[in-house]
């Protein structure tokens, strides 16, 4: 048990007022000569970092430890999307290989679906040591109960230390359901993953709206769940001599029952997502009017690329939400991204910092985007872009 304790014996009225002041959330109330901690406490523990003469202390008793040696293997939830293996699963497999090599574990994949033999072979080609296939008609379309049942069965039989899932709509709905079922930890949208010798996963993710990074562990629970968004990790190379094994798994048919009935499945229009674009022109608050977007759309199409934007442009309805880059939008890693009038919040940066070349144009020389840009241009979009357009029309000679 961990808790913050106020020791009344060490409390003077002056000290009490100091402690009330320290708390940024107003959780410390001084009433009738006593300090009461109210529901506003966030356990930030700022009150413990100051010298209060022992008036505020932290009490902790060790938890029952899990036997970590019984949980082995770095597993990937292999996601079938539109009948095919989602590329994020291969990216995760590449990361799983790295992590597994560090601790001497196996690389595992769990693959629920219907007629997924080809996907299983692909996972082997990309370095899975064992692929656990749950192939059944009931798994043809994603529904939460049978999919959760299949992965639960895999976990109960194989005790993996780590399970990685894509930060896709399916991964984000399946992983938390299972984490709750096993009463264990789940860290969403990790951007960096590493592993300790004792198989504790080192997880780093943007937090608090994305301006701050948090380093997170799951020290007393197994398995450890983490989701990672598409395009955060690089697509690995296939292994030279794949030696993995496909394990066909059987599960009781009643476990695959679902109360949810799929009535219709309609493929979405094959529009190129911004995730697949090789060039992106991204716009932010520096764009003054919705009509001005046309200029950036033209530039994007000249570069054979896509137009994308920051959260604020999506929120005021100027751009479709599928074109949003950032923590609450898409993650992109194009060959070139030109950021126009974007300040560069960490929330945005989290969605694009894997880009090969980053060019940023902003009038504010102190904008954080310049810490990220390979080429930072201090200047006015409304002068530079029209000049650039004229130059492109003339074929590059000014």
């Amino acid at each position: 048990m961990a808790r913050i304790v106020v020791n009344m014996a060490n409390l003077t009225p002056e000290r009490a007022r100091e402690i009330v002041e320290i708390c940024p959330f107003g959780a410390m109330e001084y009433v009738d000569g006593k300090i009461v901690i109210n529901g506003s406490c966030r356990m930030c523990r700022l009150c413990l970092k100051r010298d209060t003469g022992g008036a505020v202390t932290f009490e902790d008793t060790p938890r029952t430890a899990v036997d970590k040696s019984k949980w082995r293997g770095i597993a990937v939830y292999a996601e079938i999307s539109g009948g095919r293996l989602h590329p994020v699963s291969l990216e995760l497999l590449g990361k799983a290989r790295e992590l597994a090599a560090r601790v001497g574990h196996e690389v595992l994949a769990v693959l629920p679906g219907y007629r997924v033999g080809e996907a299983a072979r692909e996972l082997i080609a990309f370095g899975a040591d064992r692929v656990f296939v749950y192939d059944a008609p009931a798994l043809e379309n994603f529904r939460i109960e049978p999919y959760a049942a299949a992965v639960e069965d895999f976990i109960r039989n194989n005790h993996p230390a780590v399970i990685l899932a894509g930060g896709t709509p399916i991964g984000r709905t399946l992983a938390p359901r299972l984490a709750a079922r096993f009463r264990t930890g789940l860290t969403a949208d990790c951007t960096v993953l590493d592993i300790k010798e004792n198989s504790d996963l080192e997880q780093i993710r943007p937090a608090f709206g994305g301006n701050i990074m948090a380093h997170i562990n799951t020290p007393h629970h197994r398995p450890q769940f983490a989701t990672v968004r598409y395009k955060i990790f690089a697509l690995p190379e296939p292994v030279a001599s794949p030696r993995g094994e496909i394990v066909e798994c059987r599960i009781a048919p009643e476990k695959l029952e679902s109360v949810i009935r799929v009535i219709d499945v309609e493929p979405k229009s094959p529009e190129v997502g911004i995730e697949e674009a090789e060039v992106i022109v991204a716009v932010g608050r520096g764009v003054r009017r919705a009509e001005d977007l046309e200029m950036f759309r033209r530039l994007a199409s000249r570069l054979n690329g896509q137009l994308a934007g920051t959260r604020c442009l999506i929120e005021n309805g100027w751009l479709d939400h599928r074109r949003q880059i950032g923590l609450s939008g898409r993650t992109v890693a194009p060959k070139l991204i030109i950021c126009c009038g974007i300040s560069g919040s960490v929330q945005f940066a989290a969605g694009m910092k894997g880009s090969e070349r980053i060019v940023a144009i902003n009038t504010d020389p102190a904008a954080p985007i310049f810490n990220l840009a390979h080429i930072g241009i201090v200047g006015d979009l409304y002068e530079i872009i029209p000049d650039l357009e004229k130059l492109i029309e003339k074929g590059g000679s000014l």
Binding site: M43, R45, K49, R172
Partner: protein
């Protein structure tokens, strides 16, 4: 029919800084608001109420001040409000948060339908809804973009998956997480503000929950631990261009041609 809508009070801004000396968050004087994604969850519930007749209960977990967003829910048309607040919920991660809310829903329920927004703007995990459904032992559907049909026993929904739109029939009780495209949320009404000003808010603390074991909540009930928080790093391989617009445009054009993002006309 009884519908619960889970809402959260979030900071009014995402511009949070780390104190370089103490390594903790500086959040003094930051204003709070209702998580914008939750407006769509409320709207979904209120439309179902209009169509089918239902009691809509807004529920939040947070500090005593979170009462403000429950008042806002009243102004939109919620019939009842529950504030779940206890210092022993402090420091909760996704699991402990979901567990506490699921317990509060059991205490305030039973509900035929629980509606959540897509995500919050401060946690950004988009995972509490699914964990809640697991703890409640009911099915859930996320990424709901449209309610096609509804009756008191079943909803027909369209959900947005990466490559397809799936239409499903979901029998109740169940939980859904809705997207923004579900429908434009109504504005708070002044008439309702006056009419609901005196309505009481039901307050639940740890002792009111079916499971009141402190070990399952807050920091103690959280499998994940934040080891440290830090400002994002930057590296130093940077070029800075400054000067007249025409000159910069010329350099940029040259860069795009050199790296073959633009083709020279033949």
């Amino acid at each position: 029919m009884k519908i619960a809508v889970c809402i959260k009070q979030v900071p009014g801004t995402t511009q949070v800084e780390v104190d370089p000396e103490t390594g903790t968050l500086k959040r003094d004087g930051v204003e709070s608001k209702l998580n914008p994604y939750d407006l769509y969850a409320l709207e979904t519930a209120l439309r179902l109420k209009e169509e089918l007749g239902a009691e809509v209960v807004a529920l939040t977990m947070g500090p005593p001040q979170a009462e403000a967003i429950l008042r806002e829910a009243f102004m939109m048309g919620a019939d009842d409000a529950v504030l779940v607040s206890d210092r022993r919920f402090a420091g909760a991660d996704v699991l402990a948060t979901s567990y506490a809310i699921s317990q509060a829903l059991r205490a305030a329920g039973p509900f035929d339908l629980v509606i959540c927004g897509r995500q919050t703007t401060d946690g950004d995990t988009a995972q509490v809804g699914a964990e809640l459904a697991e703890f409640l032992g009911i099915p859930h559907v996320a990424n709901v973009v449209r309610v096609v049909r509804a009756n008191r026993a079943e909803l027909t929904l369209v959900c947005d998956l990466p490559l397809e739109l799936q239409t499903v029939a979901l029998p109740l009780p169940a939980l859904i997480c809705v997207e923004k495209s579900i429908g434009e949320p109504r504005l708070p009404s002044y008439r309702l503000k006056l009419a609901t000003a005196e309505l009481p808010i039901r307050k639940l603390s740890l002792a009111d929950l079916p499971d009141s074991d402190e070990k399952h909540y807050g920091l103690n009930g959280s499998p994940t631990q934040v080891i440290r928080i830090f400002p994002p790093e930057t590296d130093g391989m940077r070029e800075r261009w400054d000067g007249p617009a025409a000159e910069i445009a010329r350099r940029l054009g040259e860069y795009l041609f050199t790296h073959k993002f633009l083709q020279q006309p033949r």
